[in-house]
Symmetry: C2
Subunit: 365 residues, 2 copies
């Protein structure tokens, strides 16, 4: 059950609120563990999309940032954070080719994911003539079956194409997204390590030097941080969400972000909140009930969402909020929720509050 002590008063709901003491605790806890293991932490910034939260992570010892899109990379580079890995098979044609080249010239340490011969060729064309060689990392599918080459020989084939295109192959990466099920993290982490090691060994046998072996998702951030793995890239761990609590990936007090909502209508069987699908998203894995956990009301289920209504089933006899009451909701999945808000209320450790921007909001491409 999620907890949350510090709900600010007088908020205009729905609002996104982030407790920075928890953010810092989450950042430090994982950083310390990775320090003990000698593994770099390169957090995925798609979760928070915030330059200031990114700086907290870097100050705590993160080696750089992971991002999911060229647009996110541009925002962080503009803010002066240039050690960036776009962990995505960017298809660099048209406007994206020009943007990638401009970004690379500003951030020559940039790393980009690649999982196809065609993708490698386009990346090569996009940066042709620029100083140095753009670093690429081959994506390996560890069993999630999303993107990533399916086997070591395909990794070598893509790496060879990248080298021919003038790119510098520096390693392999995976995302163990098949860990997003109760009880799946251990096997998914092992899958990541195995797929990465097989890929790395094949690349080395093919004459490539492998300096980066990068794994990770929040559920596998501990189980995949072992062996040859040099770096992990979890995103959600720093803000937390209901899904990660239920998966056991973070502690109950690891939830640093809530959507604050007001009860706008009450009925015998339900209450209506002013947070709907445009504040909470309809992200709900089939192993979770409802669209987020209402702090302090563990028996209530947010059963339905319209754009601006959250309908909470509240049978007689169950504790429920009153008309006008303000509640905190831990979203199921924080990443797409943050992307709905232009800014958030940051609660500082000293008790004050500030408005922080979601700098890379909407930068989905």
């Amino acid at each position: 059950m999620e907890t949350w002590e510090r709900l600010p008063v007088g908020l205009d709901t729905p609002a996104l609120v982030v407790d920075l003491a928890r953010v810092e605790a989450n950042a430090r806890r994982l950083q310390a563990e990775m320090g003990r293991r000698g593994i770099a932490l390169r957090p995925h910034a798609k979760t928070h999309k915030s330059v200031r939260i990114a700086r907290l992570q870097l100050d705590a010892g993160a080696t750089g940032l992971t991002v999911g899109t060229l647009g996110e990379a541009e925002v962080f580079a503009t803010a002066g954070i240039v050690d960036l890995f776009i962990a995505y098979p960017v298809w660099a044609v048209g406007p994206k080719a020009a943007r990638l080249r401009a970004l690379y010239e500003r951030a020559p340490g940039l790393r980009v994911g690649v999982d196809s011969v065609g993708g490698a060729e386009h990346l090569g064309v996009a940066v042709r003539g620029a100083p140095g060689r753009l670093a690429v990392i081959i994506e390996i599918d560890p069993g999630q079956h999303r993107t990533g080459v399916p086997d070591p020989s395909s990794a070598v084939e893509v790496a060879a194409a990248a080298r021919s295109a003038g790119l510098e192959v520096i390693g392999v990466f995976s995302h163990g997204g098949h860990s997003y099920r109760p009880g799946a993290a251990e096997a998914a982490g092992a899958d990541e390590v195995r797929a990465l090691v097989d890929g790395a060994e094949a690349l080395e046998a093919g004459g490539f030097e492998v300096s980066v072996v990068s794994a990770g998702s929040t559920p596998t951030m501990l189980t995949a941080a072992t062996g040859r793995v040099t770096e992990i890239r979890p995103g959600t761990y720093v803000l937390g969400d209901h899904q990660q609590v239920v998966l056991g990936a973070i502690p109950d007090d690891g939830c640093a972000a809530v959507v604050v909502a007001t009860v706008v209508s009450v009925f015998p069987d339900r209450v209506a909140l002013d947070a709907g699908a445009k504040s909470l998203t309809k992200d709900r894995p089939d192993w979770l009930d409802g669209y987020g956990a209402i702090v302090g009301y563990p028996d209530l289920v947010i059963e339905r969402l319209s754009d601006y209504h959250g309908i909470v089933r509240a049978p007689e006899g169950v504790s429920r909020p009153a008309l006008g009451e303000v509640v905190a909701i831990v979203p199921n999945h924080i990443c797409p929720v943050v992307d709905l808000f232009d800014d958030f209320t940051a609660l500082l450790p000293d008790g004050s509050a500030e408005r922080w921007l979601v700098d890379a909001r909407g930068r989905s491409g």
Copy 2:
């Protein structure tokens, strides 16, 4: 099956594209039908959140706009569109009270929904001392069980509280959201009409003058536009979406908005698109397969979404797009999709394209 003829070239994907010829055709078609019936059309602007699309609707004959939040109302009022109905039980305390009052002073024709005694009292306090009387419309639950008073006597009770609070009760409204199921529109529309008439008659018996009887959702925009109903408030009809096509609420060529995506990876069993949950949302009713319809590939299903990946199941032998191909996706539910984009590519009837803003993006409260 959705169709779409005009996909612009050279777009940076993922992108939202709106065909204005279709927008105008959708606006005119419904306006003409309501003209024949003598019923006002007050479109719900939460669908497009665009001042320029709102102007198209008003130019076609719409009587004003419906909005879902105070924030949306503020954006349209700033643009000079002041005939606004906030069809939501606004809980006007703290910052919302001050915002409501400021809005009312700029837009004295404002109408606000109310469904509780407490809500009415707060609205009254918020506008106390301002010139005139704020118009409120009592929300009636037609069987969706979201918000709205459950029966006519509750409508009278809320109306009496509103009058005591210094507000002007002008009518009743409902939203037939239980029409969002195949085959449900006729009964849901009849539910709306019955609940509204019962509410209106009870208010009249209680000494209130009922000039507004307002129904509607896109599925019930025709079935509820009858009898005593004076106004309908559909939103989605003007942009269309996959859900409305499957429900039969709009024609196949009524889809005026698509998310354009690029194929970034291909595998024997699937292809990966660069449109994920942050471009398409995870809105998927249980009677729809997948997260949107890919135009031209009717047998493909967008089976899974990550933040930036759309994974399309593509078994052998089924027609599928190639690596690097650009496709158009008709989203399941256009309203939350539009809210993800800061702007969209508007295709003008003359073949040119412009960038139009989603002016009220993120204004969820």
